[in-house]
Symmetry: C3
Subunit: 449 residues, 3 copies
């Protein structure tokens, strides 16, 4: 195993990490500050506001951490020889991406008089950006080095921030859970990279790309953690308590019906009626992805239906679409992110259009109408003025906005992925040799069992 | 392994799941709705109420999920060849049971003008019902198919709802943590089923009914998750903050003293003083079961004592009573639910009687007296009128009510279990052949290790 | 394996546990009571206060449990033959230590008119004391019996309480996260015991002192749980919401930069650039230890810098200092607590001195100045009167106080550790024979895999 990297991991990883972390520390010291509480007054009111603020945000902050580090970390550890690669690189990239997002979003949104003022919400926003990087990386897991993954996220984060701003400002997208901004974006960015990093050797299964009972079990445990805290993820950006309540319950319902659908369809597909662990680990979550975009707007029954549909399409994606795409357009999607994030994301987008168009006839339309008639709408959104102003803005216009937001996100992310992929292929960056794909031994001092 | 099922799993499981989920989706679309917030006014007050509401309920909702899906899921994965059966069927049955309970409880309690109005508490109530199904299923784990388990819960949930209503309405039972309504009910329902599904082959240990270090370790980790969130479970229904505070601390104390008792007694029983993993996984939680019924009423010292007693009786149950019952009345209790839920439940019921009878002499009697003198008491509870009305209602009457609630629950659940067991034995339902008891390979596409 | 203990585990463990638990139950029954809510009035206000109280404290209570029982429990399970010893003895000692701390702190701080009045904060305080015992025990893990560990904590807890009181009352130490009171104390107490319990046989690696992939993986999962909830730990004692907010974010930042530093330095040290699992499991947390003392006072950039420095020094400690100390002063530190708690604790103490001295020039000085000019200062702190009174008290005086608190804690804990070690060496207490160090078989009924 003398030369498995060319160039050397030991040269590039520490230098890159030290350099990036050094720059970040310098930027934080120079630019980032807490709000100065002594300026505001009266003091007592501030305290009260802070208290409400913390009581509301801090639990969500921890829930998102449990999702990112425990849930996703465990879920990505499904390969028996690459379990540390799954959980530990997820941990590394998450930390890097959160810091980097804080800086990018800080300068983009919160830079004022030479300083970036920091609140706990900013950290939460940064974690939503980081999620995007972590999902995308799933497409090339095990066949890229941590050096490549760091560059990958370094490029993805700013593009995510720009696209997120774009779809909000220009299309006034309704998407509380980030179905378009996070799931669609991360999926097609990741697939773009994966297509450029195509490995002909992986057309047949790599000998090290295998699970065992224990790695599959722990991966499913990760799925369960994601499942439990997904309602937090889809509800944390809700602006009213009613919206938050609906988002929580609807997400739970979509996950629940999706889970039962997963068991049903998985058993149906197998010749002996057995459940597939891959489907269980992934399709159980498809409802959460799809419902995100309308978690605050849909009715309970609608949430159930969307969950069933999302899980159904996710499994059919794994079973029929993935093999087809791998053959036809050389798309090697290691973790199946297209099936868990892409397809359910499309289901969600379509559902949002349906709900918006038929919404006014049901009782949840209040919040939808409020959004549509939001007095700031005409001012905030230049493109919307093309379609009409705040008074004439209709559900149909909003439906078009949803579709446009999807289209733009799809294009931006795929193109971004292609460019990033080309950069990662440069021979100057350390990459694993084919024999050591999906192998922890390359990156970790693994004990001999 | 060509014919291990008769009839086929692949025919029954997908059809049954699709059918049930389809019916549930239809019911939710037709009958279930969120409260219409636009009706109530003034709007601002509603928002405030909602906020308090969510802040109070949502954390408990997540805690209960961690208990059900992670805690109980891991705990049930103690068999080395049936770990997926433990965690994944728990996941499936929990999802089914929660949806089904929402419907049953919805029509039973919340049906008005053709609609069931949904709040987050309703989901929490449904999860309490689901717990019952999950505990019961432990008695026949590994020797029943998921088809049988689904029918099992489909029958148990409505009976649970009726019994819960019965003991509250007619006996005005004091039981904040569900010691009688949940633990006693689920235990004897499960044992009733288990007795009917008696398997002579299981008199000696089945060759596949074995643990290994890893499965035992993860099962103990599940115990720890249950242990941590048990105070939430026992306190979530408290009506005053003082009651909630006492329920939290008392549950923690009972679990803690029960844990130390478990180490002590387990070491004493073994010839070489070693700790039994089975006792550790189960008896550590016995205090939480027993204290539930009086978690809001007992003193700190009393909680410690109840915890010790519960763990003691749980271990003695495993050591002496279970083998005896298996031999004498053919009771095959796979997970030992009688020792963890039945016996500590009896200890708890007896403790509640003691506390109620001697309660007025200690400082926590305020809440007890308030309950007893609740002005609605005479009206709510027809049977209580036999004993006396609100003015003459005494601690002794309440003690009798506790005993009656226990007796009724015991009878209803055991009888319900027998009937359910008879149904499950019908040859038309898929059931595993004896050689494939406790074997994931029958139900899951397990990787070859 | 006939005689591996002398004297017998079966004689001592149950007797000791039953005795201690019995005495504790008796003390709780006789002395501990809940606040009598009927005394206070008006009733309504009390309820409101209670509600805020529970909403604020209960989540922290659960977070700390997740850290203690899941996080630390898993982290300590890194040895393949001693995983139950890691997680289960942690569970036992934690329970014992919490109960014992409640009693010691109860009589020390809350004893009034023959009763100890109990609040949820008291339980939280007791858990902070218990943490100390659990960290210390890491130094002698696997080569001490549970009987020895119980005595160990029985002696450490009262000394911790006295030292904590000392550094607060006499040196008015600023230390929100317990860097000095918890980490420095537990480290040097544990090392004191370890030095006395020196085992010449352990100069070379014991054949059973080995990890495997699975135990290393689960241990890292424990690290992640600790990492996620560390912001709670460092912020729970904050008195204002601004302080709490800063403590949360700063702790997160220090952990994050420490994690990236860990990957960088670990890769740099290895000849092939691979990451060490030991460093990953430990140094990722070093930032949390170091930042504790100033988590509410430092700027975001400062938190990042402290995190880098702490992880750096932790890894250098493992790599160079530990082998040196083992050779020179016979310090056998099983879990490397000196590297994770001692060295980062020193970094933290030094950082606190720097921040206090240069603090007034930055915007967070408000809270620092408020602390320094706290009107009660002169009265509370006799020693401070030597240096000056509340009006003349300067940052320099406080810096000296920090140094003095460190020095006193170092001395008290090391001395306490030596004395405790001497006691534990007494032949009357059960101890494992050398061949059975790091072996679960001695203490648990382990299944044959």
């Amino acid at each position: 195993m003398s030369i498995v990297f060319s160039p050397s991991l030991r040269c590039q990883l520490p230098v890159l990490l030290a350099l990036l972390q050094g720059i970040f520390v310098a930027i934080f010291i120079m630019f980032v500050t807490y709000e100065d509480h002594s300026i505001r007054s009266p003091f007592h009111n501030l305290t009260e506001e802070k208290e409400d603020h913390l009581t509301a945000i801090f639990p969500s902050f921890k829930d998102v951490h449990l999702m990112l580090f425990v849930g996703l970390g465990l879920m990505l550890s499904f390969l028996k020889l690459y379990s540390f690669g799954g959980i530990a690189f997820n941990f590394l990239i998450a930390n890097f991406a959160i810091q980097w997002s804080l800086i990018v979003q800080g300068f983009f949104y919160h830079y004022k008089e030479g300083k970036i003022s920091l609140r706990l919400e900013n950290v939460l926003d940064a974690e939503f950006a980081a999620v995007t990087a972590l999902i995308s990386a799933g497409a090339v897991m095990g066949r890229t080095s941590p050096v490549q993954l760091l560059l990958f996220s370094a490029l993805e984060i700013p593009l995510f921030v720009v696209n997120d701003w774009l779809v909000n400002k220009y299309f006034h997208v309704i998407d509380i859970g980030g179905t378009i901004a996070i799931h669609i974006f991360s999926c097609y960015f990741g697939l773009g990279v994966a297509q450029i990093l195509y490995q002909p050797e992986l057309r047949k299964t790599h000998p090290k790309e295998a699970t065992n009972s224990n790695s599959d079990f722990l991966s499913f445990l990760g799925t369960i953690f994601l499942w439990i805290f997904w309602p937090t993820f889809n509800s944390v950006l809700a602006k009213t308590e009613a919206a938050r309540l609906h988002a929580i319950i609807n997400t739970f319902f979509a996950l629940s019906s999706g889970t039962i659908t997963t068991f049903a369809l998985s058993s149906l597909i197998d010749r002996r009626g057995r459940i597939s662990l891959v489907y269980l680990q992934n399709a159980s979550l498809a409802g959460g992805v799809a419902i995100g975009i309308i978690a605050d707007l849909i009715s309970p029954g609608g949430a159930f239906a969307v969950g069933c549909l999302a899980a159904l399409s996710c499994i059919l994606g794994y079973q029929y679409l993935s093999p087809f795409l791998a053959r036809k357009i050389k798309m090697q999607d290691q973790c199946g992110i297209h099936n868990l994030h892409g397809i359910p994301g499309i289901i969600g987008t379509l559902s949002s259009i349906v709900v918006i168009l038929i919404g006014p006839t049901n009782t949840y339309s209040t919040s939808l109408h409020e959004m549509l008639n939001d007095s700031n709408l005409g001012i905030q959104s230049p493109v919307l003025e093309v379609f009409g102003n705040q008074n004439t803005w209709t559900a149909k216009d909003q439906a078009l906005g949803q579709a446009a937001a999807f289209g733009v996100t799809f294009g931006v992310s795929l193109l971004g992925g292609y460019i990033t992929g080309l950069l990662l292929r440069l021979p100057c960056f350390v990459h694993p040799s084919k024999d050591y794909f999906f192998d922890d031994q390359l990156y970790f001092q693994i004990p001999e069992d």
